[in-house]
Amino acid sequence: MIRGEKVTLRARRPDDVEHAKRWYADPETARWLIDVGTYDVPAEPMAYGDVRLTVDDTETGTPIGTAGLSGGSPEHRHAMLFVVIGDGAYRGRGYGTDVVRTLCRFAFDDMNLAKVELEVIAGHEAALHLYEGLGFHREVHRRRALWIDGAWRDEYLMGLLAGELR
């Protein structure tokens, strides 16, 4: 497991699936998801290129969301970060920032990645603010890239090089 200040990132368990169903059923969570898949519990929770974890609130041990680093490329040494704070009670309180900072540190210091990237829907101001606050740059502005909730949205590809994490 990977420890942040207020969160613990740990291997997914079958009993997380019930929590995930609740999170994805919450319209406030679902509206910023690019794709909703099933909450799968991989046999190998942490492998280069495929880190998929559940996020717990360390203090209570409650699962509050999911995060990870996917599509890691050993040749190019980057991966795509994702984070969903599924429990609305934990949004806007610094848990998201803690998850992202913790995962980025893990990516650079333990996985030896050169860069962490992520995709975010334009208009998701809270997320953009969080990522830019940690040092992510908007690199690519994809226009009319996503069909979300009845309309076309733009998408940003953001990147953080090793050494840029604030």
Partner: protein
């Protein structure tokens, strides 16, 4: 996913028993294309399968919002990404839930999902021409009568005419 009267949620193996019961009830299956009553095992196996909802076949259980009771299922079939059309398949299995507007609400809700989330262009359905109640419900949900296919379905010992009804993305209520 919430409608006014119903919630659509992913199916799970716990739904097998109820689905099995519905499929044994001839009144439930009277106007469906359904012929062979499935085994409980077959339903359970299907529900245990990995991805319940795919782009080609989004499927959901229908729960009443007032009591939480699971009353049926609704799905879209044969959705192709090019033509972006899906065929509606809905069953309200619990007789106690008939004629209370749940079917119409579930239909509206999956159509909203189809257009808003999946970006589909069209939802259509086939209904037996003699199923007047269902035709009324679909018209309430915005579907337009498009044409009758004569002797389209053999059931109950004879051929039945079926009505094709369709709803396009720009006709659907937001």
């Amino acid at each position: 996913m919430n409608g006014d009267l119903v919630t659509l949620r992913p199916m799970d193996p716990g739904d097998a028993a109820a689905q099995h019961r519905w499929f044994q009830d001839p009144d439930v299956t009277r106007y469906t294309g359904f012929r062979y009553p499935p085994s409980l095992t077959a339903i359970e196996t299907r529900l245990r399968g990995a991805e319940d909802s795919t782009f080609a076949n989004p499927r959901f259980a229908i729960d009443r919002r007032d009591t939480g009771e699971t009353i049926g299922y609704v799905a879209l079939r044969d959705v192709t990404p090019e033509s972006r059309a899906g065929e509606l398949d809905i069953v309200i299995g619990e007789r106690s839930a008939w004629n209370l507007g749940f079917g119409t609400d579930a239909t509206r809700t999956i159509c909203r999902y189809a257009f808003r989330t999946l970006g589909l262009h069209r939802v259509h359905l086939w209904v037996f021409t003699e199923n007047a109640a269902a035709i009324r419900a679909y018209e309430k949900a915005g579907f337009v009568r498009e044409g009758v296919a004569r002797d389209r379905w053999f059931k109950h010992g004879r051929w039945h005419d079926c009505l094709l009804m369709g709803l396009l993305a720009d006709e659907a209520a937001p």
